[in-house]
């Protein structure tokens, strides 16, 4: 049962590989297989959180064991929190696929849509499950690049402009995160999250740790559309096809933005008062500005996008208060 965790990554990746191959010969193959995959993964996550809710499941990819006290393998870790996020991701993806059957009538290249959606879900499942910092970066980029392509799916003027804006901001965010990961490796000589948190205990209050935390707040704040970095979300949200809008503001900003910040700040870093204050202030700003800007919108999708910026603010306030 433990080794079934890899299915969260293998099944969507395999579906994304098979859809362009088989989908052009078999009608309805793309939609059917992606709906089946997401439904199966939802059922699997529900089984995990109901049967294993109190324990943490670890799976070492490749079966590499710990040698000399150093974890060599890349670990996939599933606990109660990531179980809930997994249910959310796969359930929303399933409904996005079901409702996209009729929505996609006006588009060509339906197979590419489903293949990219499967890639995005594979990336998000990987981000949620991984216990390794660099692996987190790789999965985050898989999800992000698939979502850039999906935002531009209509290839009209607005879609292209929104996608370019999203790509520039998202690319900068990824680079901040990569710089942060490089600095973590420089400080601790490990990429495993549990190991890094054990070593970072001895570095509490050092300036480099504070710099790393600020880099992560900037990077993941941009990914989760926190207020000073929120400019891409309303454009991307309103230009993307509607199933992708639901994935973007429903799941993507939570899975690759907020979830990772919570995971890093609660398990890896020991947080200081100033950092908690920064997070809380950004959250309050996000809540207020998102709500105020939403008043002036006449497009439903833009309105919902500003509403999700405001909701992200609420989540960040909770994170900031809980850290301290």
């Amino acid at each position: 049962m433990e080794s079934l965790i890899v299915l969260y990554i293998i099944l969507p990746l395999g579906a994304a590989f098979l859809i362009p191959l088989i989908g052009r010969f078999v009608r309805f193959f793309a939609g059917m297989i992606s709906a089946l995959v997401f439904l199966g993964l939802t059922a699997l996550s529900i089984v995990y959180i109901s049967a294993y809710h109190s324990e943490t499941i670890r799976y070492a990819v490749g079966g590499w064991q710990v040698t000399n006290g150093i974890p060599i393998a890349i670990y996939l870790v599933l606990d109660g929190f990531s179980g809930i996020i997994l249910v959310m991701i796969n359930l929303v993806a399933f409904f996005a696929v079901v409702y996209s059957f009729s929505y996609l009538q006006k588009y060509t290249a339906k197979n590419n849509f489903y293949a990219l959606l499967c890639l995005m879900v594979a990336g998000m499942n990987g981000v949620v499950l991984t216990g390794d910092l660099f692996n987190l970066y790789v999965f985050m980029e898989i999800a992000a690049i698939a979502s850039y392509a999906l935002v531009a799916f209509g290839v009209e003027k607005e879609e292209l402009e929104a996608s370019f804006k999203y790509q520039v901001l998202g690319g900068m965010a990824s680079l901040f995160i990569l710089l942060g990961i490089a600095l973590v490796y420089w400080t601790t000589s490990t990429l495993n999250m549990a190991d890094a948190s054990r070593i970072l205990q001895t570095f509490a209050g050092y300036r480099i740790v504070i710099f790393i935390q600020l880099l992560f707040i900037a990077g993941f704040g941009m990914k989760s559309a926190l207020v000073p970095f929120h400019a891409w979300l309303p454009d991307a949200h309103s230009s993307a096809p509607s199933p992708i809008s639901s994935m973007l503001s429903g799941v993507l900003i939570k899975a690759i933005g907020i979830y990772v910040l919570i995971r890093l700040f609660f398990t890896v870093f020991s947080i200081t008062y100033e950092i908690a204050l920064t997070i809380t202030v950004l959250g309050v700003l996000s809540m207020l500005i998102g709500g105020v800007l939403a008043i002036g919108q006449w497009d439903y999708k833009r309105l919902l996008a500003y509403s999700s910026i405001s909701q992200v603010g609420y989540i960040f306030i909770g994170l900031g208060i809980g850290c301290w």
Binding site: Y137, E141, K157, E158, L160, E161, S163, F164, L178, S238
Partner: protein
Amino acid sequence: MTLYILCFALFLTGLYGVLTKRNIIKIVIGLSVMEFSIFLFLALIGYTNNGDAPILVNGKEQLLFVDPLPQAMVLTAIVIGLATNAMLLAIAIRIYRKYGTFDVRKINQLKG
């Protein structure tokens, strides 16, 4: 230490380019400069003075190795960076076909 500071200066140069340039292609170039400064930084982290290539050879005693893990990370990150750049340039070409310009001030259908 100078090397690390120069590396960070390169990162800031790329950031300046992304933030101030008006031409889409120059923005993409700025992003690439930022990317490569981080690759350089990763390669510098793994470097040890007088270190040897991390290969064990029979009969040769060498205890000081260069750290191979950041090099593997740089290789992965280069591949990801290639994907990002290809995607950005593809979108830039499509934008040029639709708008007839590379100037970001003239590409303003959306309000942000």
